[in-house]
Symmetry: D2
Subunit: 284 residues, 4 copies
Amino acid sequence: MKRITLLINCNDRKGIIASITSYIQQQNGNIVYIDQHVDREEELFFMRLECEFSKEIFLIEDFRKDFSETIAENFEMNWHLYNSDLKPKMALFVSKYEHCLYDILSRYSSGELEVEIPLIISNHPDLEHIAKSFNLPYYYIKVTKDNKVEAEDLQLKLLKEYQIDFIVLARYMQIVSSRLIEEYPNHIINIHHSFLPAFPGAKPYHSAFKRGVKIIGATSHYVTEDLDEGPIIEQDITRVTHTNTIKDFILKGKDLEKIVLSRAIKLHTKRKVMVYKNKTVVFI
Amino acid sequence: MKRITLLINCNDRKGIIASITSYIQQQNGNIVYIDQHVDREEELFFMRLECEFSKEIFLIEDFRKDFSETIAENFEMNWHLYNSDLKPKMALFVSKYEHCLYDILSRYSSGELEVEIPLIISNHPDLEHIAKSFNLPYYYIKVTKDNKVEAEDLQLKLLKEYQIDFIVLARYMQIVSSRLIEEYPNHIINIHHSFLPAFPGAKPYHSAFKRGVKIIGATSHYVTEDLDEGPIIEQDITRVTHTNTIKDFILKGKDLEKIVLSRAIKLHTKRKVMVYKNKTVVFI
Amino acid sequence: MKRITLLINCNDRKGIIASITSYIQQQNGNIVYIDQHVDREEELFFMRLECEFSKEIFLIEDFRKDFSETIAENFEMNWHLYNSDLKPKMALFVSKYEHCLYDILSRYSSGELEVEIPLIISNHPDLEHIAKSFNLPYYYIKVTKDNKVEAEDLQLKLLKEYQIDFIVLARYMQIVSSRLIEEYPNHIINIHHSFLPAFPGAKPYHSAFKRGVKIIGATSHYVTEDLDEGPIIEQDITRVTHTNTIKDFILKGKDLEKIVLSRAIKLHTKRKVMVYKNKTVVFI
Amino acid sequence: MKRITLLINCNDRKGIIASITSYIQQQNGNIVYIDQHVDREEELFFMRLECEFSKEIFLIEDFRKDFSETIAENFEMNWHLYNSDLKPKMALFVSKYEHCLYDILSRYSSGELEVEIPLIISNHPDLEHIAKSFNLPYYYIKVTKDNKVEAEDLQLKLLKEYQIDFIVLARYMQIVSSRLIEEYPNHIINIHHSFLPAFPGAKPYHSAFKRGVKIIGATSHYVTEDLDEGPIIEQDITRVTHTNTIKDFILKGKDLEKIVLSRAIKLHTKRKVMVYKNKTVVFI
C-alpha cells in the first residue's frame, strides 16, 4: 500500500468533508485517519487525512493534479500532500549546549524519530565529538558581526545541497536571519527555555528566578521575524521552590527543553501541525 | 438549526467514512464535528459526528429510521442518535461525603453542566441541607442488609419516575446491585479514590499511605459487576510526600475526586465516551 | 499542650539554629517541626518552628518578651510568634463570580480550612444568597468612581470591627487601594487567572487564546501596589488545545483558580509563607 | 571548608534537635542545611544535616568517634556520616534498552550527576558501543540458568574491585539475587516501567493498555527481595489516550523512565533518601 497525508485549510463551507471523503473513495483510496477542526469565529476549516492506495495503480503526482482540479480549486483550499513513506530531512543547528543534541540523536539512533538527519550545523566547534559518535557530518560555521551574510550563504548552500525540509534549533544561540526564515516559513522549530509569553529573550531562567515563580516552562515554536513570538507548537512545565537556585532552574529546565523539543519534532514530522494567525492546530 | 450527535461503532471496512458523510450531505445536513478512531488490532471502527439540519424540514425520527435502513444495517453498526438540544437527566447518589456533591451542584447552578438533575438519592440523611439550598429533591432511602431488595425497588421506581438517563455515584458508599447495573449499562459513573488499578476496594488512601507512594490519584469509571474494574473514563493524580499524613492524602484526594468526576460527567453528557472491551474511546 | 509557631528572618550567621533550638529546650519546649532556608546569594536566613509547651506553665507573652531580649535582638531578627491554637480571621472579598466563593465556603464548612470567616464583603449584591446558605454575613458595599474613599472607609471599619487578620480576594473585580494594602501588607491574597508574569491585567484568558498557548495557568499572590506583580504564593496549570474556545479556557481556568487559591489560603493560615524581595519562601 | 552530611534516625524524644545542633556548634561547625521529619504514628525521628568545618582542624574520623559517644549512643541513633566532598561510586547494570543508559551518561558527561561511574555491567553485549563512546569500561557477563552463581561471583568481584557504593539497574532485564541485595541493602536502585503498585512484573505497558488506563507511570525504587515492592523513591506519570498504541505507551514511557530514574539517582547521591518500614523519607 502507498500512504499519503493531506493537510487542508480553507474557508468553512457546507459539504467539504463529504466532498473530500467521497473523492478519496472514488479514487479507491481508504481513509485510515481523519481529523478536522473548525475555527467558528474565523469560519476556517482545517483537515488532516491519511489515506492508503493500492501500490499497483496509485501515482502520487497524478493524484495531486486531479485533486487540485477536482476538489481543491473549488473550495479555494490551501493544501499540502505528503508521501507518508518519505521521511522529511531535518537539519540540526546547535551551539554549545549538548543536552538537546544528545537527546535528539539518541532518539534518532533508536529509530524513535521518523526523520532523516543529513547534517548538523553549528557556530561553535564544541559539539563535534557528539556528531562524530553518531556518524553525522558536523559543519562548523563561525558567525560574527562581520561575516553574517557569508555565514548565511554557506548555511543556505548546505541546506540546499542536503535537500533539507525543515530546521531544528537545538539551543542554537544565535538569532536566525530573515533570509533563512523566508526560505523555511513555519519550518524552523525553536526551543525557548521559558513558558512563553513569559520571559522572552535572553536569560529567562534568571528572570524567572528573580520573579519568584513557582513553575518554570519550556516552549517549542516556529521561528518568525518577531523573536520568541512565533506560533507555539508545544509547551510543558515543572515545579520549582524557594530551595532551588538558578543552577537548579537551568538543570530542571534542560529536562523540559529536551522533552518539549522532541515532542514538537515528532508532531512536525508526522505533519500534525497546521499554522494560521500565528497559532497552531495540533492534531493528535 | 437542529443539532444531532451520532455515535457509531462497527467492524472496520473501506468506505465507511465516505458513506456516512455523503449520506449526511444528501440529507442536507452540515457536519460540524467529526472524530473517528480505528482500533487496528481489533479492526473496529468508532465515529462521533455532530450535524446540523434546517429546523423546518428535519424530523429526528424520520432520520433515525432512514439512517438505519440506508447505512447502519449495511455496515452492521452499533449506533446511537442523540438530539443534542436535549439535556440528559442525571441522578446523583450520595452518602455522607459532601465535597463531590457541593462541587457538582455549584457547577450545575452556574450552568457549567449541560444536564438536568431531577433528584438526589442517598442512603443517609446527612446531606439533605445541601440539596435543599440548591432547591433539589433529596430522597433518603436507607439501605440495610435486610431491606436491600426493597430499597432497590424504591430507587428504580424513582429513577423511572424521573426518566433518569444516567446515574452518578458521588462518593456513594454502597455497592450497586446487578439489577441497577443491568438497567443502566455503562450509564452509572463512579469516582474511585485511587489511581486504578492500584488500590481497588475500601480505604485506598490508607493503602497508598502504607505503600509509600509518591503520587496519589482518582479514577472515574463506568460501574460493572466487577468492583472497581469497569471502563475508565478519566484519571488524574497529585503528588504526596513523606510529610503528608493519611488525613492529608484524603484532603488532597478530595480535590482530585471533584475534578475527575466532573470531567467524566461532562464527557458523558456530551456523548464523547464510547465503551468497548472494558475500555473507553474518549473523543475530545 | 500549648503550641506556638515562630517565623524568623535575619542575616545568615553561624550558630543561629543552635542558639534558637537550645533556647527552646531551656524553656522546656519541644520542637515538633523545624524548617529552614538560606538564600546564599543574599546571605539571608529563614526559619519556621513549631514548638509545644506544657499548658500549666507556659505564658505566650512572657515567652515573647524573653525570646525578644535573649535571642531576637542579638541576631537582629524579623520575627513573628503565633499561637497555633488560634485560627486567623479571614475576610472574603467577592464580586460576581461564584466559583471561588463556593469552593472556599464548602471547604470551610467541612472543616478543611483552619480559619474563621467572620464576613464577606462585595461590591455587588449578586452572591448574597450563597453567603446566606452558609449563614455568613454579607456586606454589599457599592464602589464607584465617586464614592471610592467612602467605600474604603466602610471596608476598613468592618475589617477592624471583625478583627480581620488577612483578606482573600476571591475574584474581586476591583483594584484594591494603597490604604488597604498598607493596612494589610502581605496579608491580602489575590487569585489572578493567568500564569503570571504572562498575561497580567484584564482578560488574561482572551490574551492566552489569542497567543495560542498550549497551557493556561492561575497564580495566587500577595497584593502590592504594582498590579499583579506581588510575591507569588502558588501557581498551577492545565493543558488546552486548538479545540478549546475562550469559553473553555474560562471553564478550565475556574478549576485552576479554585485549587490554587485554596492552596494559598492553607499555606497562609498555617503560617508557612515568608516574604522577601518580592518573592516567597513556602515551607512544606 | 570541609563539608559533611549526617543522616540520623531514632525514636522521637524531646530535645534531639537542640542536642545535635548545639553539639555541632561546640565543634565549631556551621549548619548550612537542616531538615527533619517526625512520623508521629510510629514516633520516629529523621534528620538530615549538612555542616561545614574549618579545613585546618577538622578530622572526619575524630568527629565520627566523638559524635557516636557523645550523641548517637545516648539517643540510640541509626546514623550515617558522609564526606560531602567525596562522590559516591555508582555501577550501572544494563541489558538491551539504551534510552536510560544514554540519558544517564549524557547527564554524567555534562557534570550534572555528582557521582563517579567506574563501570557498566551487562548481561548482553549490545550496548558496548555506547559505553565506549563515553570511554567507560563495559563488562559483558552472560547470565543463564546454569551459570547464575558464577555470573554473580563475577559481578560481586567487580563491584568490590571498583569499590562500588551503589548500583543502578537501568532497565536491567534480570532479577537480582538475594546475595547482591544483601550486599547492597537499599543501595540498588531500579526503574520499573509502571505506576507501582499498579502493574508489577513483566510487560506493564501491555497490561496498562489492556486495562484502558488514561495515565501511565514509572517508579524508581530500592530493590528488595520482593519483586517491585521495595521502597519507592520517585514516581511520575504521563497521559495516554485511546489513540495511543502499545508502541506509543512504550515510547512515552521511555521518557518517564529516564526522568524518574535520573531524579532518583540524584536524590540518592545527595543522601536525601532515608528508608524505613519499606517507605522513604525524601528530603528536598
